[in-house]
Amino acid sequence: MSEIDLLETILLVETDALQRSVVAKYLRDCGYRVVEATNAAEAMTALVHQKVHVLVTDLSLRDESGFQLSAKAKEVRPDLKVVVTHSAERTAKIAGDLCEDGPLDQPYHPQHLVDRIQRLKRS
């Protein structure tokens, strides 16, 4: 974990509060700053007001899809790294195009997310 930039901020968007908190806690323990959003609208507010390096979003949000959020986020912040998480394989190609490194299947171990973020940083 030594190579993790302590100032790296991850915006984590997940509908399920307990799952979100588990992943967020793990990422914080790894040295990231984590902003937790419960839906896409909150995520966009955070993107406008806070410096975010990586967006990690579930595909199925209450107010819109993770793909819609990713597209809007990229309009506001073209340099933003994005990870979309979902289990549906048919979304993989779209997610790969949007997210540079394809989606994570759920449920996933938080370490897989950290590994993914590390790869995004090197890309």
Binding site: A17, Y26, E36, T45, A46, P107, H109, P110
Partner: protein
């Protein structure tokens, strides 16, 4: 497997920390409060509505403290949440925050502390409930 390991991780960490459920539909306010509490070594779960908080409490009620705004989107508001915690989880202390709603005497019976928004120092404001770490 993965999900079970993740929740085992959460439970293991929860055993050594005080836990708070912070409920506010404003991500910036909620995040600020949560960050301050985390710096004070609280484990914090965030919820964006009272409905979400009630759903969390139905799955996990091992909290020391619930801090909630009053006016939020959804079926229930912060006072409904406070009432539910008061009735179903009497061991959890409740702090209610609002900049618009001044609580009545009846309201005050269902929570432990009222905070007038904006709350500039949440750690200090919560001292009547959780004590001063320097005491």
């Amino acid at each position: 497997m993965a999900a079970e390991e993740a929740f085992d991780y959460n439970l293991r960490e929860a055993a050594i920390e005080k836990r708070a459920l912070v409920v506010d539909d404003d991500i910036l306010i909620r995040g600020d409060i949560a960050d301050v509490l985390r710096e004070e070594n609280w484990e914090v779960i965030e919820a964006g509505t009272a409905d979400e908080a009630i759903e969390v409490l139905s799955r996990d009620n091992s909290f020391n403290l619930v801090i909630t705004d009053v006016h939020m989107p959804g079926m229930k508001n912060g006072l409904d949440l406070a009432r539910e915690v008061n009735e179903r989880h009497p061991g959890i202390k409740v702090a209610v925050m609002s900049g618009q709603h001044l609580p009545t005497a009846e309201d005050r019976a269902i929570f432990d502390l009222f905070l007038l928004k904006p709350v500039f120092n949440i750690a200090s404001a919560l001292t009547p409930l959780i004590g001063d770490k320097h005491e």
